[in-house]
Assembly symmetry: C2
Homo-oligomer: 407 residues x 2
């Protein structure tokens, strides 16, 4: 049986080789990793994640590693505790490898991370380092967060699996809050099965990993009203994927918008515009000198935005959620794009979350799996979305889809 | 015009006189308060809360004062930031006086605070110091939190006004999470008007303070299924209050349970039993040596409790909320008891939240106002509960009720 120390050596070797190009880590200490591996090897009781290397996004508190929230304002801060997700991973025997680069406060200001397959491109964000670390083979699983598209989009760009659970499924205590009503912990992995296992342990819901894969998944196909923003290669891979799934026995059904999907975009924008300046009130009022310009602008209150407009946006989102609940109930998952296309060139932006924002606003479980490559040879994904709380069913369907598309 | 320095001197004199008996403060520094007052006096622009002394519960982060979360585990911790509510109060010109005693993590383990009118009794909790500081006249307004009954109950015990807003109305960033789906920032004040003004500024909702008081408020009367747990003097003061309000022109209507109120208690218990051990995972797994025994027991996972039971409890709570929304829509507020009776003797417990838990689980706005005194001459309150989001209406009704009952 491989020791955790040996696993840690492999992790360290991969990081040493690739980190100079990728820049996935905000904090990584090879000596600390080796010591932690030895400690795990010395345990007499082994947890369900014994020795599994896991990376933690830098907006998630760790008691033994600095936590900078992606911002110069907090550079070097050492929290007095672990976030709950980290404490629970440790208790399950996971090998916490280090802290991965986040955009500033998991918002728009980019970090240093480059796409592991093309250093001229963004890996996506805000969970940039988590996605890149998994895609580069440094770790099998990483934790991130999602408020717009910060898990699904970078996972798709980097050609790995990504999972944003139903809102409320995973305890968020100890993450840097960006938008209280939307922030969700997300997962990156080389395979859906790895993600499901870790999420199952973390949530106390073994069904996430154990749900039987459907022989013939029932899959809704939904080309959102912004489908014209999909790049041609991404749209083509989407159609090719549908063909492969149909030939493999999946039951596909095109569905129409049951409500007003476009209204979700404006609701999401209004809700973030109201909540973000409040969640980051201290940073905005007392720390703005240390922030990226794009953050300073992004977290400023929007002139003229009223509580009544926020309440109306929440009501719109709630009404749309009721409509989608009825539609999604009949399917294992819905299929749509996880991003407009390949990871864009340049590091100033982490890409457009337009294919994520509606689903995040609906608080639904989302999974992306690799689906092929685009015009530049970079990864493209396929996104599955499920009914609220149907995470075991969506993950099971995602395992089937992953298997069909990788065949 | 009174300077902020003069206000601060009055605050300091009151604290100096009464703190030895009451023990309301976890952190208070007279020199820091005086310096802060001088700074506010020197400002050329005055905020809407200019110079208003406000106390902050110790589970709320402050960048310039230690924040111990009511626990020896965090004694002396200095957060790198203010909670959003504190940052926004400062920006509005409030004079932040210090940190008030909380039970450990705003849960069951009591702090040192005594009832300001009877040192043999609890002031209630978990926001013990905030309630006591206002009741003792040290500050006009204090911030607390509520997850079961941690604002309304101590406010009622201490004979002051208390307000737990609708869930989601006030940004919670920077409070110690106890139960993510229930935690709400609460307010204590000598008068409803003061609370409404502070809450209006903090929430960006001036309507909280500005809603016109109804000439003849429509008030539902609901004696919950646990009314037999009310002490006779509390039940009598409740009936007397109804008489006073009817004579003052309020329209009172007895209502029946529109659903299954008892089911809310078990839902609330299940939801806390699931979420609390997760929110306090670090403390439970890595810090339990430093915790009170009652905390250690209270935050332990409940054997046999499953995610399915938690999901079912959430569904029950959601279904009850729908029923109550229909009923409450027709009233300015509902009247019920805020607590079983007077503050109980002894400091080992902060009292029973049985008259709060159902409303907190429904995420509804709650206000308590002083209604009279009980058998021991200690305060009794009257609780108003409103429809979700109807906080301006409930606060306006509470101003009327407060005026009638204090006449």
């Amino acid at each position: 049986m491989t020791s955790v120390a040996e696993v840690a050596r492999q992790v360290a070797a991969c990081i040493e080789a690739k980190e100079p190009l990728v820049g996935a880590w905000h904090f990584y200490d090879a000596a600390r990793l080796a010591a932690e591996a030895r400690r795990l090897d010395g345990l007499t009781e082994r947890g369900p994640l014994h020795g599994m290397p896991i990376a933690i996004k830098d907006v998630i508190d760790t008691v033994d590693m600095p936590t900078g929230y992606g911002s110069a304002l907090y550079e070097g801060f050492r929290p007095p505790k672990d976030a709950s997700c980290v404490a629970l991973l440790r208790a399950a025997g996971a090998l916490i490898v280090g802290k991965t680069v986040s955009t500033e406060f998991a918002f728009k200001g980019p970090g240093k991370t480059r796409h592991p397959f093309d250093p001229a491109r963004t890996p996506g964000g805000s969970s940039s380092g988590s996605a890149a670390a998994v895609a580069a083979g440094m770790v099998p699983v990483a934790l991130g967060t999602q408020t717009s598209g910060s898990t699904i989009r970078p996972a798709a760009f980097c050609g790995i699996a990504g999972y944003k659970p139903s809102f409320g499924l995973i305890d968020r205590t100890g993450i840097k809050v960006l938008c209280d009503s939307l922030d969700t912990i997300g997962f990156f992995g080389r395979a859906v099965g790895d993600i499901a296992m870790v999420a199952g342990v973390l949530s106390g819901r073994p069904s996430l990993a154990e749900q039987a894969a459907p022989a013939a998944p029932r899959l809704a196909v939904f080309r959102t009203p912004v489908w014209h923003l999909a790049e041609p290669d991404a749209a083509q891979v989407f159609e090719d994927s549908l063909g492969k799934l149909a030939r493999a026995g999946a039951v596909l059904e095109e569905i129409d918008d049951p409500g007003d999907f476009m209204a979700l975009f404006s609701a999401h924008e209004t809700i973030m515009s109201w909540e973000v300046p409040r969640a980051l009130a201290f940073e905005r009022l007392a720390g703005s000198h240390a922030l990226q310009a794009v953050t300073r602008e992004g977290i400023a209150p929007v002139a003229g935005l009223t509580a009544e407009a926020y309440d109306a946006a929440c009501a719109v989102a709630g009404a749309q959620a009721v409509r989608w609940a009825r539609v999604l109930d009949g399917f294992d998952a819905l299929l749509t794009l996880p991003a407009r296309g390949e990871a864009p060139v340049g590091l100033a932006s982490t890409g457009d979350p337009i294919f994520n924002r509606g689903w995040t606003q609906l608080t639904l479980p989302c999974v992306t799996v690799p689906a092929g490559t685009g015009a530049s040879g970079l990864p493209l994904g396929l996104q599955l979305v499920g009914a609220l709380g149907s995470d075991p069913r969506v993950l099971a369907a995602a395992r089937v889809v992953e298997s069909v598309l990788s065949a």
